[in-house]
Symmetry: C2
């Protein structure tokens, strides 16, 4: 595979991944920028490079980049004597990617609790079903910490063994 071919496939894949992010509720431009930073070989893009590569306006890039930084997906670095911002993927600890799932689950647990508290009869099939769902979520949520620990243990042990 030649370099040109690879780059062509990468640019194509930026669009694909961008579309997926869009379907998951992200705004189109934000999704494309995030995909760009993940897929391409260049690790840091300037504002103008992003605009040029994705053919979007400055304002669209500005708004999208602010959101991506707020969401903790993107950060920028700067260099002395250079006013440009160099945007790149924010490299968070891998297990942080479940934080959002966890927050959502905690909200759900709380909501179901409130629903159950308002029920006239806590033993109807619906109430029972909601209780089961809540239990499952609570169990799962408690397991997350353990899972994180065992991942770290496994990850470290491979560093020492072999």
């Amino acid at each position: 595979m030649t370099t040109e071919e690879r780059v062509r496939l990468q640019k194509q894949f930026v669009e694909t991944i961008g579309l997926e992010y869009e379907k998951e509720g992200m705004q189109p431009v934000s999704g494309r920028i995030l995909a760009l930073l993940m897929v391409m070989d260049k690790e840091c893009f300037t504002f103008d490079e992003i605009i040029e590569e994705l053919e979007i306006s400055k304002s669209a890039a500005s708004v999208a980049l602010r959101m991506l930084q707020l969401r903790n997906n993107v950060e920028y670095i700067t260099f002395p004597g250079d006013r440009k911002r160099y945007f790149r993927l924010k490299r968070v600890e891998p297990y942080h990617i479940f934080e959002e799932t966890r927050r959502k689950m905690l909200r759900d647990i709380e909501n179901i609790g409130k629903i159950l508290a308002l029920k006239a009869n806590p033993d109807t099939p619906n109430s029972q079903f909601l209780k089961e769902i809540k239990q499952m979520m609570e169990f799962f949520n408690e397991s997350l910490d353990q899972l994180k620990e065992s991942y770290l243990k496994k990850h470290n042990s491979t560093n020492f063994s072999s």
Copy 2:
């Protein structure tokens, strides 16, 4: 708390939960219907009851109910000699609620794999970061089955003991 108070709080909560579903990407009317079926004491609502309770049009209800059935959140039952459909929450196995998370994660794993395959250099900080994320997701995905099993075991054992 009187019954009227409880029902008032329930109706209020339908709106709150509906809004949350909306923020998670569900259509407004679908979110309200799902919330209605979760929160209220009545376990089965007819088409007309839903329309009346939420003050929506027949067409809006029709479209939303079709989507909720496709998404496996709602089902309806019928009774002989009664043409009405009685809509209610679909009571799936609790651990099914993670199926969507899992599917999304498998897609992500696949996508990151493709991204890495297209990288010129697999050892840059970005590539390393993506690899770690992928590993974490793979570990997590493998743990899900185990988690499900141990949930079932725990759930059953409490049925026999004490």
